[in-house]
Symmetry: C2
Amino acid sequence: MATPDERGADGATAYDELIERYRQYQYLQHAEMVVMWDQQVMMPEGGAPARAKQRGALSTVGHDRLTDEAIGDLLNRIDEGELDDDQRAVVREIRRDYERAAGVPSDLVTRFSEYTAENHRIWNEAKAADDYDDFAPRLDGMVDLTRERSAAIDSARDPYEVQYEERQPYLPLDRVEEVFAELRDHLVPLIERIRTDGREIPEVVTGTYDAETQEELCRAALDTVGYDWDRGRLDTAPHPFMAGTQFDARVTTRYDESSPLAGLMAVIHEYGHASYQQGLRQDAYGSPLGSPRSSGVHESQSRFWENHVGRTKPFWELFLPIVKEHFPSLSDLTVDDAYAAVNRIYPENCIRVEADELTYHMHIILRCEIDSALVRGELDIEDVPEVWNRKMEEYLSVVPDTDAEGCLQDIHWSMGLASFHGYTVGSVLAAQLDAALREDLDVDGLVREGEFDPIREWMTEHVHRHGKRYPTDELIEEATGEPLSAEYFLDYVDEKFADLYDL
Amino acid sequence: MATPDERGADGATAYDELIERYRQYQYLQHAEMVVMWDQQVMMPEGGAPARAKQRGALSTVGHDRLTDEAIGDLLNRIDEGELDDDQRAVVREIRRDYERAAGVPSDLVTRFSEYTAENHRIWNEAKAADDYDDFAPRLDGMVDLTRERSAAIDSARDPYEVQYEERQPYLPLDRVEEVFAELRDHLVPLIERIRTDGREIPEVVTGTYDAETQEELCRAALDTVGYDWDRGRLDTAPHPFMAGTQFDARVTTRYDESSPLAGLMAVIHEYGHASYQQGLRQDAYGSPLGSPRSSGVHESQSRFWENHVGRTKPFWELFLPIVKEHFPSLSDLTVDDAYAAVNRIYPENCIRVEADELTYHMHIILRCEIDSALVRGELDIEDVPEVWNRKMEEYLSVVPDTDAEGCLQDIHWSMGLASFHGYTVGSVLAAQLDAALREDLDVDGLVREGEFDPIREWMTEHVHRHGKRYPTDELIEEATGEPLSAEYFLDYVDEKFADLYDL
């Protein structure tokens, strides 16, 4: 593949050397992920000060490795005409990571990291005291740092877009903003109809459900969907998450003793993330070809398993008997009851992380509207609480009592802006993938029979095994035949909730 | 402290900059320790290939950070006359680590690491097949690499001594070899007397003891001795170990369902290691002043708690009732029974990791004699099994049936030579510290009352809080009033085993 003069003294081509250097950087990122997982799941409380130092050192050496001049030199030396498609994709992705990271001067990296570390404490205290004014100047500083960072990467473009692309590469922001506008225009009246015209769904799952049995139930759920335990674990964490690689993709959940289905749905969601990691090519470990495409595509996998599998009637036909084995007190529960319980809409809720399948997206869209307006200079910091509450009223007919339950509720803005899109992109893409999948397979029949392997294999074939081979928009077209579209998600929720709420 | 011309552009002195760079290196080492702990305790089996890459990358960046020319430049710039005692100790230790690491060329580091990685598989297969000939050429290669490595550090000195100093700095090898010779001359006849003239100690702890209750018992033991759970954990590992820092020092053990006291004694041993870590200065985290002195000093802490606390009658007077609460089937066990059971000598055993308090040291001394003779060119590779078996016969009157139970039993020689001394140094030093401690405190009375805090505080005062402030030999003199001496250990075992075995 390489011409002789591209080879170094030891016979390695510039391409070989480039990918080996990039892999070392990836291995350090993955080591940091292990250390982060440990911090959330295993670390004793007293370990925090040392862990902060360890993670700081890992981030620094990771950034140093990625921005090493040698990577820039190798990128310049490579003759892309000599490369095959896979190799060109690898070079495209490494170049993108390198250029974005190298564009940002070290002192800005340090200032950003020190600023967000300090933010964490201030945000926590402001939230506890329900005092937006204490956090407002820090949020202002985040806006300035975001603009500075975006300008360092590409001063010619919209700073919000440049920041957005950190997590959602190759998926144009204007397209996502169009999709979000369609969702808003459609979901707001749908939620309002459910609120005013929908039937009452009774609370049928009441009582206490011990955490130990809930954990056994979650293990049974993971067994049912075919989680590969040889490359994973289930543990408890204050905020459920998945962390790992194709060799070790770990899921976490939490158990609320009054709500056994919440921990279960969380574990199915995290399983979706794990299925993506476990479906990546093992031989491409550390290469862009063996890495997940984007946070939005990652979320499409968790949303697919959570909503298009775990919240369907066929799934509950299969799984309700297993729930009853674990909790005999639920022996009178019907499939319709369970289906309704896991799909119930709660428009009166103000908290994003507790939101249902529909209202969730209004929480996300609201945040994206506010932080884009901040970064684009269209909104003043002091107006955030008012705009937040006005949008909550407009979108969900509910106003939080306090800023702690309003604009201070999420940790995200203390760490960075433009980070919310992936959650909703993931749901939209999940519905689009589900529609394409159903063209090929009888999904309901397979789920009812507990045959999940063909479903996972379809996702691996169309999404996982490609890693970052295609740009995000191309991956979506390859997998579903068209660009990202709100249509499938809106059709899916229209049909599902009209039926569920007798609309 | 610093003269103005020593300061850099940002006002930091060369000393400040040096210690900050060294700390970053330490943080990376500690991150690798977390990742190693996870590998032993939490990782699913399939995670191994990725974990190997992650650990490799961490080792490489750690080595790069330590051997960075900037550290050499800073060491040259520092005017030690301007430093106080603590700072001089810090510079001494950083200089030692830097010079040893920088002396070894990168290609040798890489060859050594690749060679030992490959060794692991070959040693495993050779042990499984009981085929020394398959491992012999690899052991030969280890000898060559060890000589090469030692010569790169200091070609003028005994290569074995240079390698030994990697783990036992500032504790002259000739002194340790004298101590080992005294032990050998004393222990061989003592073990023989026990074997031939000692009373029979009956097996009183028989039956099955479930692992879950054993774990509860181990937690109770850690509660009893005052383990700080806010900075630690207890988990299960195939080979018990402790890993951590002053903020998070985790112990592990394993449970043999036929032998409840084995897991318990292992946990007390590992607690000793953890007590050292937890006793290090928190404000000196990452500095040599907040790091453990050496593997021998570390082992003195585990041996102290295991043997001089956990294997004493006062401890069993205190703890036997707790054992009986967990295992009511042991309700007839007396303190004398339990004391005898945990102190019984097994000279017929060939396996180091299963050895008792006395024979253990003959296993260690035998290994040190053999690997020093190999590195010093006084023994041929092919003669190792014969010499091993001859020494086993001479020291313990037992000959292993196979090389798998003989010279192939330990993983150590596949990873490096001259690594065994610390185990026996630790026991000798533990007895010496115990004697000094008993001059100040009524240890038996405190143990009987469950008052462990004063004992741990004495160790923190005399050992832990110093970190690497003193060279090892000075630390021993500061803590005990004299250099390392076999006398206390030999007096202790003479008295204990004469009594136990009616000699």
